[in-house]
Each structure stands twice: as structure tokens, then as C-alpha cells.
Symmetry: C2
């Protein structure tokens, strides 16, 4: 919540919903969804094993609620657009099947890209926030950011400077370059970095330094806004 | 709720909990239970089929919450006794397995008998409130009670008066007699009815009349109390 507020979302247009905090409002709506989803469907959708706990099985019903909660609160059908990453896709595909039967519009989705873990793009490409060294936290100080990127960011470069100058690097798998596609908003500059790295003109260490500077510049301001956000959370919470 | 209040429960000692109304309090506690119950266990316990909806699968976690909610509210371990009928037994057996792991006392159970349906004792012996003719509602007027019992109460009597006088009736399967075991509090009187019916001295019509009188006497007062209960529900609701 602090990060979302720090990014500049406005309290007039933003409402936070917390499953456990807003269960009084959400649970009875989730039950309506749950009644329309069989175990069979949930299993086929999420690949549940028999040892899955029953809370995880029910969870998709709660996850569906924000897609029609504005309609419930306003008492009229309101279209809903959900920005989410690939890991939430199954939930909202199920939601699309179900909530039309409850008389609401099917939600639309915008699929966001994941920032890959520093270790490289694996499986669904999500950065795990539990593996400390593959993750840069929005609270990391500049020297930690430098150390993590220098030591752990997966490189698309060659094993020696000589080889790199000859063969060039691979920006498509280089995590530092991939991260720059999120943080460098100047497309021309980004293309130059891409081409220079690919041609071997730009070394891995230099590419990492570009990212470190960019990231620390972003985080410096973000961390200040994030501290200010602490006192604002209440303004963002959905009032019930 | 109206019937419970009408039966004389005291608001100082009685708190109603409604899953959907109290979800704000209960859902996060139910999640703790849900995490400890696998689908495999729930399936083995309740015999779920793949077409079961995911709300029904989760439900046992909500059902477990009242067994430790007093402990949550008071912030100390409080023993809990649950009066329930056989149909709820599986829920509380699961609850006993789980809530000890959450640091609460296992709940104790008192198993209550079901009032059988008028049609006789079948399967779990529960009176279905959706089969109108097998059910006497606590709101039924006296003539409806008379008609339902005379027409629909399963009889343990013989097919003719002559045969009944000779062979006697079977109180063990006679629904009117079974109901009297709930409503006739004088054990000597009940034993006399039992023996007279078994010997053939008491006819089915006479037995039914005893039940009708007993039931209508009870319902007359109950229905008055039930009307008065309407204004008291709020006093019984758990405040959160």
C-alpha cells in the first residue's frame, strides 16, 4: 500500500480493499461466486493437488469480488478493468465465466509484465520477494542496490572483456537491461543502450552502473514519498 | 433466531453469530482453520464429489470458528461446548483435529436428537423443513397441526382396530409417539402411553390426539413468545 501511494495514486480515485479487513462486505459476495465454481473447475484451472488446503481452493471466490464490488456498492452495473500480471490471469478468467451469471459485466484485463528476479527469467518470471538476493526492495539503500546488482543481476555478457568486445552481449536475457526497460522512459536512450550492449561497445559492468544510477535516482524519491505515505493509508482504505 | 429466543434463552448469556453478518470477525479466523485442512481431508470427511462448489468445501472452516471465537474475543483459552445434531458431527470432529494446533481447547460436543419427519425416520432422521407435509412449522395454526398429524404422521399401529387391539402398536416407529418423547415431560405419563399403545389399549387416532393437544398447547405459548422475540433480535446479536 505504501508503494502504491508513493507512486502517485490519488486517494479520491483509489480504494484499498483488504480481504480480511473487508470480509464483512466481501464474504457474502464471494459466496455467490463460490456457488458457481465447482471443485472440478477450480482444480482444472489452478492444478490443485488433494493436499491443497481448503482456504486456497476458496480464495478465487474472494479474488473475484473486486471485479463487481463497485456494482454492489453503487447498486448498478459498472464495467471493471483489472490490471494484473500473468499469475492472476486464471482467477480473472474464472471470474469472467462466473460474474456474468450473477448479472454483472465480465471484467476486462490489462496484463502487466513482471519485473524479473535478479537471477534471471525463470518459469513465470516473477521476482520472488522471499529470495533476498534476487530481489531489490523498495526500501533498499543505494549501496545495497549497487551490491545486489553488481553481484547478483544475471548478465547477458561474455566471460571476458575481450570476448565481449568481439561477440557482444545479449540484452534479451540480461536482467539489468530488462530492468532498464521498466525504468528508462527515454526510448531513444534505451535503444542506444540495447544496441551498444549487443555490439560489445557497452560492457556488463557499465550497463549495470547505468541501471544502478537509474534505480537509485528513482528509489531516492520513492523512499521519501513512501515515508510520507504512512500517514495517508487511512484515506485510501475503502470505508464500509 | 425467533424460535431460540421464544424458547427462553437470555440475551445476557446468548450471542447470535451470522456467518455473512459477522464475516469481518470470522473470516480471518476461518482462514487459520482452512490452512490446516486439506481438500483430501475435507473430501474424506464429507464425501465431496468433484462437482461440489468451492463455497461448500470452505464452509467447514467458518463452521469451526464459534468453537474458539470466545477465546479470540477474550484473548484467553476458553473451553467450548457445542450442542449439535449428528449432521454437524463431521464439522466438529474436523474442528477438534485442527483448533488444538491453533492453540485452543478442542471443543466438546453434546449430540442432540433430531425430531423425525412426520413421514417416519429415514436416513439421518432429520425433519426436512422443505417438505411441507412432513414438517410442522412453529408458526402453524392449530387446525394445520391437527390435519398434518392426522393425515401424515407415520403410524406404528395395525391396519384395523380389531387387529390393533389384538397385536398392539409399535411405539418405536410411531412418529406421534416419538414426538411425544420430546414434548411430554412427565416420564410416568409417557411410559403409560407407550405401554397402552404397545398393548393395543390405545388406538393410533387416540395417540395422535394426545400429540395434537400437547403440541398445540406448546405452540400457542411459543407463537406468542415468538412474536415478542421480533423486537429482541438485536439484543442477541454479537456486537463487533
Amino acid at each position: 500500500m505504501l508503494d502504491v501511494i508513493a507512486l502517485g495514486f490519488k486517494p479520491e480515485k483509489t480504494k484499498f480493499i483488504v480481504d480480511t479487513k473487508h470480509a464483512g462486505l466481501m464474504y457474502k459476495e464471494a459466496l455467490k461466486v463460490a456457488k458457481k465454481i465447482t471443485y472440478s473447475t477450480a482444480k482444472a484451472t489452478f492444478g490443485f493437488k488433494p493436499e491443497q488446503n481448503i482456504g486456497a481452493i476458496f480464495y478465487t471466490a474472494m479474488q473475484a469480488v473486486p471485479a463487481f464490488l463497485p456494482s454492489v456498492l453503487k447498486g448498478e452495473k459498472i464495467p471493471c478493468l483489472i490490471p494484473h500480471a500473468i499469475d492472476q490471469d486464471s482467477h480473472f478468467r474464472l471470474t469472467r465465466d462466473v460474474i456474468a451469471k450473477l448479472g454483472y459485466y465480465k471484467p476486462a484485463s490489462i496484463q502487466c509484465r513482471f519485473l524479473p528476479g535478479l537471477g534471471g527469467m525463470v518459469e513465470d518470471g516473477k521476482m520472488s520477494s522471499s529470495e533476498e538476493n534476487s530481489t531489490i526492495y523498495t526500501t533498499d539503500p543505494p549501496d545495497t542496490v549497487r551490491r545486489k546488482i553488481m553481484q547478483h543481476a544475471f548478465s547477458g555478457g561474455q566471460t571476458s572483456v575481450k570476448e565481449h568486445r568481439e561477440k557482444g552481449g545479449n540484452p534479451d536475457v540480461d536482467v539489468s537491461y530488462q530492468w532498464l526497460t521498466f525504468f528508462e522512459e527515454d526510448d531513444d536512450k534505451l535503444k542506444r543502450i540495447h544496441d551498444d550492449y549487443k555490439s560489445g561497445k557497452l560492457l556488463t559492468g557499465e550497463l549495470k552502473q547505468i541501471l544502478i544510477d537509474k534505480l537509485n535516482e528513482f528509489l531516492k524519491e520513492h523512499q521519501q514519498r513512501r515515508e510520507k505515505a504512512r500517514s495517508q493509508i487511512d484515506k485510501f482504505m475503502l470505508k464500509v
